[in-house]
């Protein structure tokens, strides 16, 4: 992974000194609140109703064990002893004191960490696939390109006051898109042209929030050396023409829509034609220099499915299940990618204690070359684990609580065993859960939807607590065929309520699209920050009914 040189260290040290200066002036009253606001945001510091929040950048999700330990220390010394993994591969502290933030940033800088541009109307942390560099279906390792973009976007003098925040994601996997590039302001997908040269397919103007949009492709193939000049052209067009009169219409997606993707692309191409051959054009040497930081760790020569693994899987059903669910294929024979799930029931999703951060550091050192990754599903990944050590790792992380998943999101489905396993059930439930998860496989989107309890029961015994799901699904038997009823508005919280039946039931193959329609009604009707349940309570069941049965 990337290691700072003198330039990086110098620039970061100057940034910390600058923010110390700014904080001192703000505390002395020389900087008005609205003047300090964008400065602190671009240093990761929010001031929320209850306390400040510091969002620490984890560039494209990569962490060394020493960095995890420093995060643990900082969360212990300056906060309440825990941190929070965000959906954009960053880490947040929830209770730092404003006056301590320069010291926190100085401590982080010692391990090459910072909070640069994790908020504010600027270019944010570039994200990518959490399995980058370790998976087998990758065209190229995307991380060097993310690092190149990180450097280019860091304190970019022209783009520090954009109309709105700006997020770039890079995907290099042929068959998956864990980076969700089409719902970013800029999505970059690596492609090779007929000659075998690397380039990027460029999506612009995707996004979630109030106006979810899949970004259109504005260029099918951008040669890799042109990456930065092309980004600069896109950002310049956005900076100059993006709306600044209404913050809900200020994202680039609105501009792309207003100009049409073709019209927008023309403007970008025109701008780019002036700067494409400038010194900002990348060189093969510059790319190779960054790539040299992302060389493979010292893998041993191993075989897939070693005896130790096969035997352990045969002997322990629980282990076997964990391997199936939380372990992914690795490009190197004999290695595996392991996801540590960070969502122990009763803990807010993504929250990790200082001790847990150290435990992740420990298992990273012991099992995965001292590196870990943060995923935008708010989990952690050990990307380079020997298959013959999976069982040991599993034993080690079980008591740490890293074996549950996706709490509180749409894909955190409460689901009874259903007709596959249970004699009482009228209908299967697990395949329904799975089909819905497949439909909503874009986790950024799911997190954007906020807290949604989706509970599925295979029969009226309601082991899946479907009545109290915000969305409840109940399997019913109609003349020997399995159908599913949907209820909305249930809650198991303090404001508990029983869900209201939406209407006639659906066949299993229709369930994913029905759930999607329900979610679309919510997204179109919600106000800022309004949760699914609140929107439902405000607008009632009728709009959902009308959509689903249209």
């Amino acid at each position: 992974m990337y290691v700072y040189d003198e330039y990086d260290r110098q620039i970061l040290a100057e940034r910390v000194a600058q923010f110390r200066h700014q904080t001192a002036r703000a505390l002395a009253g020389d900087l008005a609140e609205e003047e300090f606001l964008p400065l602190r945001l671009q240093n990761g510091l929010y001031v929320q109703r209850l306390a400040p929040m510091l969002r620490i950048c984890v560039p494209y999700g990569m962490l060394r064990s020493e960095q995890l330990r420093r995060l643990a220390k900082v969360s212990r010394d300056y906060d309440k002893g825990y941190a929070h993994f965000t959906t954009r591969q960053n880490v947040q502290l929830n209770w730092p004191a404003l006056e301590d933030v320069p010291d926190i940033l100085a401590e982080l800088a010692e391990v090459e960490m910072h909070a640069n541009q994790t908020s504010g109307n600027c270019i944010r942390n570039t994200t990518t696939d959490q399995f980058a560099g370790a998976q087998s279906d990758e065209i190229v390792d995307p991380r060097p390109y993310c690092e190149i973009i990180r450097q280019w976007s860091t304190y970019h003098p022209e783009f520090a006051f954009l109309p709105r925040k700006f997020k770039v994601a890079v995907n290099a996997s042929e068959h998956t898109d864990r980076a969700a590039v089409q719902v970013h302001d800029i999505g970059l997908e690596t492609v090779r042209n007929d000659a075998g040269d690397l380039g990027f397919k460029v999506y612009v103007g995707g996004g979630l929030g109030r106006t979810p949009m899949v970004g259109p492709v504005i260029r099918e193939y951008l040669p890799e050396l042109d990456l930065l000049t092309y980004l600069e052209a896109i950002l310049r067009v956005y900076n100059r023409y993006g709306r600044r009169d209404n913050k809900y219409k200020a994202r680039i997606k609105i501009l792309v829509k207003a100009l049409t993707p073709e019209g927008f692309a023309d403007k970008v191409e025109d701008e780019w034609s002036h700067i494409k051959d400038s010194p900002s054009r990348l060189t093969h040497e510059a790319i190779a220099r960054i790539q040299a930081y992302f060389t493979e760790p010292g893998y041993a020569a191993l075989e897939d499915n070693p005896e130790a693994l096969v035997q352990a899987r045969a002997e322990s059903k629980a282990f076997d299940k964990w391997v199936t669910r939380n372990v992914d294929a690795h490009k190197k024979p004999g290695y595996a990618i392991v996801t540590l799930t960070m969502k122990k029931t009763g803990t807010p999703p993504g929250d990790v204690s200082d001790r847990q951060l150290e435990q992740i550091a420990d298992v990273a050192d012991r099992y995965s070359f001292g590196e870990a990754r943060v995923t935008h599903q708010q989990n952690a990944v050990l990307a380079d684990v020997r298959q013959d050590e999976l069982y040991d790792l599993w034993q080690a992380i079980k008591p740490m609580g890293f074996a549950t998943a996706n709490l509180n999101t749409l894909t955190d489905i409460i689901c009874c065993p259903g007709g596959d396993y249970c004699a009482l059930a009228n209908a299967k439930s697990i395949p329904i859960a799975e089909s819905i998860q497949r439909k909503f496989d874009n986790l950024d989107y799911v997190y954007d939807l906020g807290n949604i309890d989706l509970n599925i029961s295979g029969c009226m015994n309601a082991c899946g607590h479907h009545h109290v799901g915000h969305i409840g699904v109940l399997g019913v038997d109609k003349k020997g065929e399995e159908f599913y009823q949907i209820s909305l508005g249930g809650s198991a919280q303090r404001d508990a309520a029983i869900g209201k039946l939406l209407g006639p039931s659906f066949a299993s193959e229709h369930m994913p699209e029905v759930i999607e329609k329900i979610i679309n009604v919510y997204v179109e009707n919600r106000t800022e920050e309004e949760a699914f349940l609140d929107t439902y309570r405000r607008i009632g069941i009728v709009p959902f009914k009308e959509r689903v049965y249209a």
Binding site: A17, D30, W152, F161, N239, R240, R289
Partner: protein, 167 residues
Amino acid sequence: MPDIITSDGQIKADDWTVVPRPEEGEVLTLPEGRVLIPADMWLANRAQYPNKETVGVWLESHDEPGMLADAVDELSIIAVNFPKFTDGRGYSSARLLRERFGYEGELRAIGDVLLDQLQFMKRCGFDSYALRADKDIELAAHCLNFFSQAYQAATDTEEPLFRRRAL
């Protein structure tokens, strides 16, 4: 006479007066001394203002700097207004004037010009700054130089760091 700050941190007395755009239906009236007038009004009556030592122009943040593309040699000063410091369009305007249209005269930031944006402005090609009156101009030199290095090429740095590192 208010002071301005230059890129090398010098504080200078300023004798340019920014003339606001007249209200609809009113005519532009120029005060005594050196004046900066709206760029489009200057363009429309270029022949009237032959002396670039006494008349310069200013651009609003949404103005197209390209309107001055063939006039950059006729001007000794162009100002770009920042109506609010969070309106970042002026940074692009400055770079275009310098890098695209080859403007070499004085490029001044006016309007909501605060301390913490000075270095960004400098990097984009501004070389004088009408700091907002309530800000401490004595701090400006420090704020113009928070950073000794930059990753990107910009008006002040022809080569991005990845090329300089390669040396």
